[in-house]
Each structure stands twice: as C-alpha cells, then as structure tokens.
Symmetry: C2
Subunit: 592 residues, 2 copies
C-alpha cells in the first residue's frame, strides 16, 4: 500500500526561512490577514485530509476508473464522499476572494496544499482544480451578474467548472476551432459544436456544471483573433439561483486513458446550448488564458507532488530491502544482506529525485510569490515586474516540473526493481498518472516554444536579462561564506551560459525564425536547471551556518545537485548550437 | 489502430553494406550455409508474420490480459493460434542447432527477426524467447540425454522453457535464495521453494513446461558459490518421450502489472518436484548465465523494437496532423493549417528516435556478429577476443537500448499530444510494455554496475582499451573523406573522453570501492553514446559517396546525432567526477 506523509517541515522551511513569508505577508496591507501560524494550521489540516482521505482512494480509483452510461459519468467509489468533505472544509475557495465565499489565501499557500493533493490523488484533484481555474477567469472577465450568480456555488462545491477548448481537429491551434455561437435577441448565445479532452466535463460530484467554452461568432475574423468565450451551464440557473431547465450540452463518451483514470475526460457535445459571453467579443483567448496560466502552474505542481510521493515510496522500499553487501564491507552483519541503501547508485536515484523536489518546491513558491506580488502589491512597478516574471516562468514551471516529475517517478519505480512494475506497489500508477502532465494544458514542447519565442526572443531577452540580474544580485550575497563557494561559482557560471545562449538564439532567430522552435526544448531544460540552481542557492544560504542535520544536509544536497545534475546544462546548450538546419534539412518525405 | 512495417531496407543496408554480412558468412566454413538471399527471404517472411499476425493481437492482448483460474493460465484471444503458426514456421529454432531441429541461423539474423517480433507484440514474444534461452543453457550444460529428450520438443513449440531465479526476498542477490534440492537415490532431486516473477511459468500455448530452477543442495556453501541448476518439467517425461505424471510444481498466481499484460508473470510453487541437475553441482549460476546473457541481449532488442514502432506511429501521426503554420511562411496554403512536420521541435523528436534506432540496430548486429564469431570462428584467438567483447557489450546493449527504448516511446507518445495518452492510439501501451525491459533480467543499474565493475575496473580497463583501439583504427579509415570529417572528429573526441574517464574511475576505485557503483549509470550512458557514435561512423562510411537520398539522409542523420545527442556524453562524464562522496556522505537515517 503506497504511503505519503506531507513534508511539512520542508514546506515551512521554504516559506519561513527561505522566503521569509511572514514578514512578506505582514508588511503588505492586502495580505496582512495572513500569518505563518494560520498557514501552518492550514497545511496541517490539508496534510491530514490528503493522507487520510485522498490517498486511500487513489489506487482503488485507478483500478475502478470512471464509468459512462447514457451520458451519466460515475466517479470511483469514495470520490463523492471525499469531495463533500473537501468542499465542506472550504478548500475549493482557499485562494478565492472573500466576496464570493473564498478564504483569500495567497498563492504561496495554495501551491503547498496543491502539492499534497497531487501527491495523494491527482485524479480527484483535477475536479476542483478546473472549478478554481474557471472561477479565476470568470472573476476577471465575466462581470458582476454572472459572478454573483455562479461563483459562490462553485466555491461551495455545489457546481463545477470546466475548460472547453480542444476539438477533434484542433488542439494546440485554437485559431481553427469550429464551435459556433449564434447571438440571440436576449443577449445570450446558442453554442453548437464538439469539444474533446474535457476534464470533468460530466461527473456525479456536483449538481451543476459550468462550462467555459471557446467558440466563434458567425462574423468572427479568421484565426485566434476571432475567438470568444462563453459560459454554458449544464442546467440553466433561475433568477433566484435555483436550477432551471437542462441546457442541451452533454457528454458523448469518456476516454480510455493511460492514467488519471479516476478523472473523467469527456467528449462534450453542445447542441444549440444557451451560453453567456465572458469578456469581450473576439477576445476570448485572452480571458481563457487567465484560466490556462493557472492550470499550467498547477500541472507543474502535479509533477512535483507525484515526484514527492515517488521519493517517499522508493526511499521506504530501499530502507527495507536487503540485497547484496556494501562494497566497503558488511554493514548489517546480523542480516544475510545489507539494505540496498549501501549501494551508491540506489542513493544516487533517491537523491536525484529529492534534489529536484526541494528545488521544485522552492521554485513553485517563488513563482507563487510573484503571482501574489502581482495581485496584492500596492506599487504598480512591482506589480508589472512580477507580471513579467510570471510570464517568463509559467512555461518553465509547467514543463520543467512535469518533465522532472515523470523522470522522478520512473526513477522511483526503478528503485523497486521488479516490484516497481507491479500494480499493488503504486509506483507504476504514479508513472501513468504523471505522464499526462507533460501533455495537457499545452504540451511541454508548446511550453518551451512559448518560453523561447514569446517570452525570450520576442522581447529581445529583456525578461531573461532582468531574471539574470536578480540571480546575480542574490548570488553576490553568498560571497564571503566559504561553505557556499561551490554554489556561488556554479550559479554564476550557469547564469553566464544562459546569457550567452539566449543572445545566440535571439540573433540566429533574426536570420531564420525556425531557430526559435529548434532550440526551444533544450533551452527550456537549461533554463530549468539554472532556475533550480538559483533555488538551491537560496536553500543553501538559508541553511548555512545552522548546526542541525536538517540544515547541513541541505548543503550536502545542494552540492549533489551542483556536481551531479547541473552539468547537464552545458550539453543542453551545446545541442542548441546544432541549429534549425540539423532538423530542417530533411525533406518532408523523409518522415513517410 | 497502431501500424508497423518492418524496416527491411534499413535492415539489409546494415547487414549488407555496413557489415558485409554475405562475405562474412561465406568466408567462414561453419557459417557457409548462410547467404544474403536466404536471409532476405527469412526477414521478409518474418515481416509478414509480425505485421499480419502479431500486431493485430497486440492491443487486444493488452486489453484482455492473461487470466488465472485454479492454477490454469489462459493467454489472450489469438495467442494460441499465433503461437501454433509461429512454431510451425520453425521460428523457435531459427538460431538453434540442426541436431535438435533448429535452423542454425546466425545471431546477426535472429536479432533482426527478434526486432520485428518485439516491435509488434512483446507479450507474445516473451513466450518463445524463454524457451530459446533455456535451450541455449541446456545445450551447453544439460548433457546429451536431457537434451535429446527435451530440446526437439522445445524447438517444435510443444514444450516451453522458463527461467526460475527470483524469490520474494531475493532478486538481484541470488546468493540468498532458499529453494532447496534434496538428492534422491535415482540421481534426481526433489525441488522445494517459491519463485516469483516467472515469465511464462504457466500458460496454455504448450502441453508441457520445462523449468530451469536455481536451488541449493543441503550441504551447499553459502552465497552464490552454493547454487545449482535443475531442470524441472511440469509433466514428467517417459523414456519414449511421451508425457507421464504431473510433477508437483504449479503457478500460485499471476501478477497484475503496468504492461506486457499478455505475458503471464507467475508465482511458481515447487513442492518436492522432481528435478534433474543441469551442469555441475554448485556451478548453477554459470550455467544460468548462458541463458541470462541471451535474455539480456534480447531485452535490448525489445527496447529497439518498441522504439521502431514508436517512431513509425509518431511519424505517421505527424504527417497527417495539421496544426499551426510554419514560422518561415505557410507551407500548405490549400489547408487551414500546416502539417506539424513544419515545426522543428516535432522533427527533433522524430529524428532523435530514428537516430537512436538506426544506431541501436547496427549496435545489436555488431554485438551479434561478435557472438557469431565466438561460436563459429575457427581461430581460438578470434573466439576469445569476441567473447571478451560480448562480455563488455552485453550490459550496454541491455541497459542502453532499453533506456533509449523507453525514452523514445515517451518521445513518440509526446508527438501525438493528447492522443498519445489515449489507449486506442497504442503509444501508451508501448510505454507501459517497454518499461519492464529496464527492470527485468537485472535492472539497468545492475547492468551498469556489471559494466563498470566486472567488465571495466576488474580487469583494469583492458576490455575497454581493446574496444577503443578498434574504434580508433576504424575511425582512421574515415580520414580523407571531407564529408565524414564531422564524424571522425566527434568519434575521436568521444573515444578520448571515455578513455580518460575510465582511467579516472579505475584509479579512484582502488582507493574507494564505492566509486564503481557511484559512477556506473553515468558511465554506462556515456559508453552507450560512444558506441552509438561508433555505429554512426560505420553507417556514415557505408553511405558516403552514394547518391540516392537513402544514403545522403544517413549522413544528415549522423550529423544530427553528433550535434544534438552526442554532447550529452560530456555532461555524463562530468557527473561521474562528483564521486562516491556526493552520495555516501548522507547518513542512512537521511532516507528515513
């Protein structure tokens, strides 16, 4: 039976000792309702809920899956009860505004509760996650009337949100969607079309569904400038908030997938269903991106949560499993073999996962802090700088944390040997469940392209330059502490290498626009490594000079990261230099 | 529906133009019954069988799985008929000696037929594979009487072989097995114990099962020097070859696994079952290693076959899928979007898989040629040199080809975006089925340890030195052809880097034996990259100066490999330099 204990001490270390969160919150009037004690209590509550309620139904949910019958989706046993408890605990609105029933907790807190949720039951977690994301897009774009009518019911868990973008012929390229919106005399629209891969498009956890749907007006311009966003409820909502007639929108089927089998992935058919415009006509993509950016960050947390679960289960197995003897002499003479923890390669696998997890958690909190600054700061310049930083980092959090997430789950599975392949041990489910995080909400290739193109090359590297300046300024504060020299030198070199590579790609792209996409994935990985090195510098600095093993181990793990993982950065940047020609010189027919 | 066409032209290119196979066979009396025309016909037949018979039952076999009922294992629909056809075609004994009903085809041929089998139905392929491996160990160690009685029935497909090593508490560490063998007055033994993870331990394809079982005699020395090998049939065999009484050996259950669900993985209970000694008392491990080394090479081919299937399906999807427009201008003005093949990153993914596959296939044939030299050469010095080379390369073929196999299946799945996660597209099954190849027959960590320890450090790098000398001698033949300069320079540098790293690890290990295992996995990957570079040099040389696109594309792909994949070698070797201290400085309790 897979195990999980929320890493509360590590979480508090990052919040309190690395990011000095209490002072950050207390010094900002819009966040002064938040303090470390309250947050600690919240984290402890979520630890209990995820460990005791969600983990026990994770594997059974995978074995049972969702079932589809005549348009009705039934979630696995226990999901309904868990969802009720989750909703009653007020968790759906944890980060939402108080006026709609939320608890107004900053993102720095919800990334940690999300990590616990994803570490114990990703299929379950996707249901409220879509509601929260839909709520965010609505709050910014749907207007008072729709929001007052819908948001409180969504945060209470009575109604659930969805994100309806993809169509059978149109995934990444939303400019070619075919779903139509016919304007009606009463100001509403009739939506017709088919959407696929709709997470939680239909299920039995809530009494109503609130679909956010991309569609085109009859006279809309071609491409992505002609897309509008609509709110389409499953049941129409009466003036008094009660449920009215059934709207003609229904699930046609659910997908049979590799993983996240407890999450219903639906084909949704809209057959002249009544919808309400969200935001402005033809500006639907921008409104949807509020939700999409939230989901992208969340997918990164999915990778992180899975990876933490993989670490804990692999470490537990390694401690107990006795095979072979240490190369430096018997360590457990009373047993007929030593624990496999005596073998350096078993430790290498575990430490690699752990080094990624600790940096990944800090990186998620760092990105969350930028989101909080953007939302709550009183200084417009700070808000703008934070928005730019979030724009730069969102694709990295999404793609790098999910790429590492799968890699770590596979590594964790490997620690178990043959048992890793057997279902009851749970590791293989983590691999299958985590695989989707690299694909949905924009594949990691699309994320890398967004980073290299829109976030780096399009503004001539200005966002990167400001990030590098911050990294170097921080790195300068490490000088003088000899115990941090290894970190300072490595981080300085990584920053220099990224700077040079950025310059090279931006220049090449002026000659050949294909250079952007040719460099994208290797650049994203190099950028992720730099960011993890930056986080390890922060973690190491916070731990330096403190005596307890908890702190000195942080420095050891920082060194492990620098000497064993960071060297990959150099080869990633070398691969970039191959340029677009290395792939474009083949004829189309070559791939026949 | 997943597709597959055997890459016959590429296979013949490697055999004929790269390895000059016809001359190799014809010039050696023991192989002179083999010629390229016969081999081509064999490959074409296997292409038909794998494409038309095995592929259609691959996904249904995964969906249905094996079922277990009261000790009886039922394979998925169609497996029985396919196996009958496979056996009647004489495929089981394709590489076996003629005196036992085999066709005496060299390994250079069977690695190619195995690739097709694994590319279309790995679950099915495992059944005969175990029979073939058991036959090889028996032929060398079981003696005339047992072999005459058993081998012809195994090669005809009437009886099936298994390999019974692992026990619940004892996987990698076979020295601590508990299965006992009690000597009987008639020279036989009574075998008692439980074995787990037994592929094909019980199934309905054959009328009898022939288990090769590791067990300990009552007075056996402790550890791996006290292990003997026994042949234990499910049904005893009468003097006339007919089946006699049921032996008390039975499957207790089958495992529920991540993949290869059509292959029955059994718990086998031996309850004083009659067994016959194979080889000498207490030398069972050496006899079993004949089988194990064969299976290890075969697992590498599993990775390769899966990877070829992943390439073909991903390329087909990419050709048809229209999303977005080329960054350098619209390429398909008649469509509302371009094929995703216009995006450099999609090509990067496909080319990476293909560059690995073409080098991997050449590497498998290279290793197979060494096996053939070892078996068939008249010159004892040649046989010895080939045996040493096989010893060095077996762990690399197993681990590197399976690591690349999974990586390539995941990359292929990524090309399909959301569809890659959906079962009906097949890619997700390839990921699940291929994952086991990194685990069974000794995890890839164990393979890397075998390479770094027994094959490299233990003999002070002599095997590596001779491999490097061969590589450098070959590389010298590239000089003078300017079109091959990029290849020659890159290969020379890779050889130098491996030489330096080998020297470094061997020296460090003299001070601290833990350095072997700490370096192992990174070294294995670096070694795999060097070997692939060597193969690309061979492929490039064979293609140079030939005009057809087939050949000029080989040079382009060689360059892709050199510029985009080979740089990883440098970072792998940098990681090695972190040394054992990077992982051993943590207390055991750190992993609590």
């Amino acid at each position: 039976m897979p195990l999980y204990k929320a890493p509360l001490r590590d979480m508090r270390f990052v919040l309190d000792e690395v990011f000095n969160a209490n002072e950050f919150w207390q010094s900002n009037p819009a966040m002064s309702h938040v303090d470390l004690d309250t947050v600690s209590a919240i984290l402890e509550e979520m630890a209990k809920f995820s460990e005791n309620v969600l983990l026990p139904i994770n594997r059974s949910g995978d074995e049972e899956g969702c079932t589809f019958n005549n348009g009705v989706v039934t979630t696995p046993k226990g999901f309904k009860e868990a969802f009720k408890q989750y909703a009653e605990g007020g968790w759906i609105g944890l980060g939402a505004d108080e006026e709609f029933g939320g608890q107004a907790m900053p993102k720095m807190v919800t990334v940690l509760t999300d990590e616990m949720l994803f570490a114990t039951n990703p299929s379950f977690t996707l249901y409220p996650l879509l509601t929260i994301g839909a709520g965010m897009a609505m709050k910014e774009h749907a207007g008072e009337e729709l929001n007052n009518r819908y948001l409180p019911k969504m945060y209470s868990g009575e109604w659930a949100g969805t994100m309806c973008l993809t169509e059978p012929h149109s995934g990444t390229d939303l400019g070619i969607i075919r779903t139509k919106a016919e304007p009606q005399a009463d100001g509403s629209y009739l939506i017709s079309g088919t959407k696929i891969f709709i997470t939680g498009g239909e299920h039995d956890l809530c009494e109503n569904h609130v679909h956010l749907v991309l569609a085109k007006l009859p006279d809309a311009p071609a491409g992505s400038r002609g897309i509008s966003l609509f709110l389409v409820p499953k049941f129409l909502v009466n003036e008094d908030g009660s449920l009215g007639a059934r709207n003609p929108v229904a699930a046609g089927s659910i997908e049979h997938k590799m993983g996240i089998k407890g999450s219903a992935t639906c084909v949704m058919n809209f057959d002249a269903a009544k919808g309400y415009l969200v935001g402005k006509v033809n500006e639907g993509l921008a409104a949807m991106f509020v939700m999409m950016n939230y989901e992208r960050l969340s997918m990164g947390i999915q990778g992180l949560g899975a990876s933490e679960a993989a670490y804990q289960n692999a470490a537990a197995y390694a401690r107990d499993r006795l095979q072979g003897r240490s190369a430096t002499g018997v360590k457990m003479p009373e047993k007929n073999a030593d624990s496999i923890l005596v073998h350096p390669d078993v430790r290498r696998m575990l430490l690699k996962i752990r080094a990624n997890n600790e940096a990944g958690r800090a990186f998620a909190i760092y990105a969350a802090q930028q989101l909080d600054l953007n939302k709550y700061s009183e200084d417009p310049a700070v808000r703008k700088a934070a928005a730019d930083r979030v724009a730069l980092l969102t694709p990295v959090v999404k793609a790098y944390l999910t790429d590492k997430g799968l890699e770590n789950c596979i590594e964790g599975q490997q620690v178990l040997g043959g048992h890793g392949f057997i279902r009851e041990w749970g590791l293989e489910q983590w691999v299958r469940d985590t695989r989707i995080s690299q694909i949905y909400e924009g594949t990691n290739g699309v994320q890398a392209h967004d980073l290299m193109g829109r976030k780096v090359a399009k503004n001539d590297g200005v966002f990167v330059a400001s990030y590098l300046a911050e990294i170097r300024a921080f790195n300068a504060t490490l000088a003088g502490d000899a115990s941090l020299d290894f970190m300072r030198v490595a981080l300085a070199q990584a920053a220099d290498e990224i700077e040079a590579a950025t310059k090279w790609v931006v220049e090449q792209a002026r000659i050949n626009p294909d250079e952007i996409n040719a460099a994208a994935v290797d650049y994203m990985h190099a950028f992720g490594l730099l960011s993890f090195a930056y986080m390890w510098a922060k973690l190491a600095k916070a731990a330096a000079g403190k005596n307890e093993a908890f702190y000195s181990d942080k420095l050891k793990l920082a060194k492990f990261f620098v000497t064993r993982q960071l060297p990959e950065l150099t080869s990633r940047l070398a691969s970039i230099k191959a340029g677009a020609d290395s792939v474009m010189q083949f004829d189309m027919d070559y791939f026949a």
